[in-house]
Symmetry: D2
Subunit: 202 residues, 4 copies
């Protein structure tokens, strides 16, 4: 059997009852291009979320890693270009931590560029009818921290694989109480993630 692909989403946070990232991840099939998809639901907690995904990478030696987060307010699926070695939290994480500028990895490089084929992924999503664009900032909250930890672990393990992060918009149901925010159905977000995986494994 081919090596697995790791795909992560997040548990709810910020008072939400669901997290659009996990809603999209769990709609993915169990396999892509012959690779089993290993799905992990991460806590919205600095440190712990990174530890979990790093352990999985070290253990599974995956063929690709795609971490996914929710970006309330965005209109489309946005693969991220870069993860920055800083943590800044506007609201506490689900464990109460609220870092104000600490590095993700002490002594790590200032940032890592995604190794996903960003432009090809956007082209594939567009062809599939999924609105998308590359994003140049993943923020500095738990999402960016997971992306940094993913790329740091992949680099540390000497893996030469496509790895990175994508944000998905709120689901429509999440915006019923904040109707001025954009949304995208989980089906479309999930289709976008699938296009990213297909493109990455091509």
């Amino acid at each position: 059997m081919a090596r697995p692909v790791i795909v992560t989403g997040f548990e709810p946070f910020g008072g939400e009852k669901s997290n659009a990232s996990w809603e999209a991840v769990r709609l993915l099939p169990d396999e892509v291009e012959g690779h089993p998809i290993h799905k992990i639901k991460l806590p919205v907690v600095f440190g712990a979320s990174g530890d979990i995904v790093e352990s999985a990478i070290r253990e599974l030696e995956p063929a690709a890693v795609l971490s996914v987060g929710e970006a309330g307010g965005r209109t489309c699926v946005t693969p991220e270009r870069v993860a920055v070695n800083r943590m800044v939290a506007r609201i506490p994480d689900n464990d109460g931590a609220q870092p104000q500028g600490d590095p993700v990895v002490e002594g790590g490089p200032d940032a890592y560029l995604s190794t996903l084929p960003l432009d090809d992924a956007v082209s594939a999503m567009s062809a599939a009818g999924v609105p998308s664009k590359v994003s140049d900032t993943a923020g500095l909250y738990v999402c960016n921290q997971v992306m940094y930890r993913v790329l740091h672990a992949v680099r540390s393990c000497g893996l030469k694989i496509p790895a990175g992060f994508a944000h998905v918009p709120y689901t429509p149901i999440q915006t019923v109480r904040k109707p001025e925010r954009a949304s995208l159905s989980s089906e479309l977000s999930s289709a976008g993630l699938y296009s990213i995986l297909i493109t990455s494994l091509a």
Copy 2:
């Protein structure tokens, strides 16, 4: 048989290949609460669009009228509060006309308030999982003109019926080439329109 309900949508304009309003309208069933739904696709043309809907109102004596338009950039279904007796066009209509401040109806009142139950409609849409809010401006393009003509015709005919207008967002496919704009699936927009009709006929 009960009197029909008139629901209108628009043909494409502004270089688009489809119009989100018609995509949502055509997904509506053929009947609501025992009333046949009479669907009309209107041209995006000042004057002509208003003439068509006015003729239909005079001829069919409907139980309700809901006109629908596309509001590119909006995030949710927005029933409109008021139609203003002015036409201002940033781009020409599909017949080349581009009024810059003319009244919709010479000598008509400055504006008409919607006679749809706006707050109840938003509550019903929210309960149905459709993001929505009341909008306080329908712009001054063909949409506002149709809404004004609808309310003017209803008033002129002495009909005491719920009548008004709702805007729906772009469909996702429309935003593939402008991914920074919000979208909503036609299924959800259509479900929202159905909630408005149910609420209006209650």
Copy 3:
């Protein structure tokens, strides 16, 4: 001496320490084109604010009326096109009232169009270096109510004068604690109001 021009601004509300509208109004000179400028600072209170401006109109028989309000989040000076006969408050006014759909004037027309020369005013502001555009909705809070009361009083008194409303953005100091909101200096907002007055009296 020529008949006065009435210009109104508002006291602070919503937790703010100042109100951009009054900051702009108080920078206006005491006279324009030979007309004394009669400045009134209105309370952010439904009813009372309208009563005050209506009394002033009845008493002074002005040559023009320009009411001004603050529109947090807007980027430029926006003369308003229409006042709607409805009051809807997202937050209570400074007296605790929070109407949810009541008419401004029981039995009044659905709306009044501004009698200010809107397009000429925008042209004049642009020529003066003040960013501006016509707005198609004044909201339904105290600002819209004042605008409706102004136009209703002017009409009731049989005055044939330019009368209406303009919104101005936050001042820069107001946005220090909400830096993602746009601002405009009081000097520029005031220059914009002056251009509206000049244009209206031409």
Copy 4:
């Protein structure tokens, strides 16, 4: 005499007649905390702009470097957190180049974090009445490239100095023809830059 401080702004681009960054830079005094301010107007050209600022850094061994660019649409002064080793141009630069993903410096690190005291600078600007916040992305156009080149040169020269980049909004006059975009007066933007310099040299 103390070592100079280098401050750069840009020439106009994108069809504009002025560039808000240079308008703000040229209002700075000639000295700050005893350091002469060495102002450079850079071309909006990939490569050449970086070469110019790198030469100045090597030649002058400055006490600090602050490069400044215009961010049309932003509302406040935004010191940038990170420069990324990628160039992506939506529109050609002033020399016709339009890179689509090339590195700024072949073989350079993926990104550099600003060495300016970002949080202190924002506090100082707020205290001075200048709306500001830290930005997490400088885009990938000529601005980001200059920031990367500045930080790369400072690192290469072994200088331990505060160095980085800040974006300023459009000036009001620039927004007269696009009034829905935010602006900030050059005086306030310049005051913000001065606060950044003071904070950096403290």
